[in-house]
Symmetry: C2
Subunit: 351 residues, 2 copies
């Protein structure tokens, strides 16, 4: 059944008794071919066990149907969700996206981009690795390949960005905590080499200022954007003379870490210490306690990013508008009941 050397359209042509051009037309679904001929060809294709050689085809055709998705951390469920959102769109557009993971490593990212370019991708959706250098996308841009960034942006870049409204999300969350009666607030996790960090922290600060929290009562703890980072932040914060009573976390992973660390110390998340996450990953809803979080509509952002890159490819441009996605605060249990003044644990039930 399996012939050794791989079959080409010439083999098919011979088998079907037509010319290679005819075979090519059939492969492309051209209507110029008489149905019976097409059928004969299709049978031959089966018989010889043909696999289309896209590399050869791309030599002549303008561009391929391959799109690259470059993700900074696939083991982070948030980015996995994002990737899956994009995938859905690409799939229904008839393109197969190839996913590459950079593991938050700029060098790896460079390699991955190079490889994707060499495959002749038609476009790229990238969530850049932390520490990406300003020039990292120079070659991609020079080659005229459409790129869109998702979730993260580079400080100076002209590349279009699809991102949630981080500032507003953080503002909403912070305002909610203040509304609950908290007066000493912390921002946990993240580091200043991420543009997103500044956006979220900015929202936090603005809410504190607008709603009358003294600068001395807002505490910022940088840290890893992971469970571990959250644990560390909480430890540091609770070791203070006057610890905060609530925290907005850079993302849900950090928040999960905080919940965990609270439990470990025998504190009740929500009642003893309020925590709010960011991103609203699927797990947030099912956590114990369920995590209050800023929903960014992850899948929606992914879909949007995919649509934008598809449109860019189609209209052969390398420019597009940025998109700032709407956010909203999903209140669950982790931010606890309303807080009665400065007592240590509130007892009220809800607002």
């Amino acid at each position: 059944m399996a012939s050794r050397a791989k079959a080409t359209i010439l083999d098919i042509a011979r088998q079907a008794g037509v010319s290679k051009s005819t075979v090519s037309l059939v492969l492309q679904g051209s209507g110029l071919i008489r149905p019976e001929t097409a059928l004969k060809v299709r049978k031959a294709i089966e018989d010889v066990g043909y696999v289309y050689n896209r590399g050869a085809a791309n030599l002549r055709k303008a561009h391929s149907n391959v799109i690259g998705m470059v993700i900074n951390d696939l083991t982070n469920p948030f980015f996995a969700e994002l990737a899956v959102g994009m995938e859905r769109v690409f799939q229904s557009a008839g393109v197969v996206p190839f996913i590459a993971n950079t593991a938050e490593n700029p060098v790896r990212q460079e390699e991955v981009l190079k490889s994707l370019m060499e495959q002749g991708v038609a476009g790229l959706v990238v969530s850049p690795a932390r520490g990406t250098t300003p020039g990292a996308f120079r070659r991609v841009e020079a080659a005229g390949v459409p790129v869109v960034f998702v979730m993260r942006r580079l400080p100076e870049s002209r590349i279009p960005v699809i991102t949630p409204d981080n500032h507003r999300g953080a503002y909403l969350a912070t305002a909610h905590l203040i509304g609950k009666g908290h007066r000493r607030l912390a921002f946990f996790g993240g580091s200043s080499d991420l543009v997103v960090y500044h956006e979220r922290l900015g929202g936090f600060r603005e809410a504190c200022e607008a709603l009358g929290i003294a600068p001395a009562d807002r505490l910022v703890f940088e840290g890893e954007t992971s469970r571990k980072g959250g644990i560390a932040c909480l430890e540091t914060a609770l070791a203070m003379a006057a610890p905060p009573t609530a925290a907005l976390c850079f993302n849900d992973a950090v928040a999960f870490g905080v919940l965990l660390a609270l439990r470990k110390r025998g504190l009740e998340p929500g009642a003893d210490f309020a925590v709010v996450g960011f991103d609203d990953v699927a797990e947030a809803e099912h956590y114990m306690p369920a995590l209050t979080s800023v929903s960014v509509n992850t899948a929606g952002l992914g879909e949007r990013a995919a649509h934008v890159v598809l449109k860019m490819i189609q209209s052969r441009t390398t420019r597009a508008e940025d998109h700032i996605g709407a956010v909203n605060l999903v209140v669950r249990e982790s931010c606890g009941p309303d807080r009665k003044e400065h007592g240590c644990a509130g007892m009220g039930d809800a607002a």
Copy 2:
């Protein structure tokens, strides 16, 4: 800086004042070229903004350096971990793997495989989607492309498989529960269209038989292999006249669901109902309570799979030995303290 039409080695040749053959040799790092010539060429490459066209190259070369990883569900952290384990190996072998997600959909899998083949992959590592038909890999095999399955196998296939020792893992976990004093045991989640399911369930059954659990006291609940599935299984089980007191779950996701559902009912996982997971994902250790689970060395399996496919490619064979990875039970809190006879909740502290 960016010329419109993309540069080829001919442009480089012109720029550097050498022949295209020389450029080609430089690109391949051949030692036949005089160092100063090579330098001149490399400079020209930079100047014209050249991107290597791997498609064109593959037309002449035997096979590409692309390897495909086909994953059934990337949003499942377990498979994400697995993918990352493979990636590490491929990376250090100088190949860039492209990851494709099938979302547990055989039709999607078919498309993805087709696309990967068309790109001319040198090899494939696949964790087949549930419901994959027996013939799904016929064309891949016919084309002589090395494939290895990881974690899952197809009933009849000759394709090599890398998988943990599911039977033994389930046996160990079940024996542990019985050792704790449980006499009415359940197996939660999974469905019989997965070979893994039968392996794990087999281990469960064998342990029950060997250690004197009456057939009537071992309960099997099929269900989704997700948190939701776990929740559903627990609900059904507890609704029984004589409910089980412990469960071995098909995987950690199911186990997490069970822990959640227990809490929702006001039951204390471990003390009131023992649960053991399977796979030992990173999260298991950090859960509340920490989940007892069968560790399968996820990353190690991924690495092994990657090595096997690399070796197959290198030795141009399509055969390899199966590999059954060692497992071990990681005991944490979710299986609770030793159980004193048939009381409803144990009070002892540890063994």
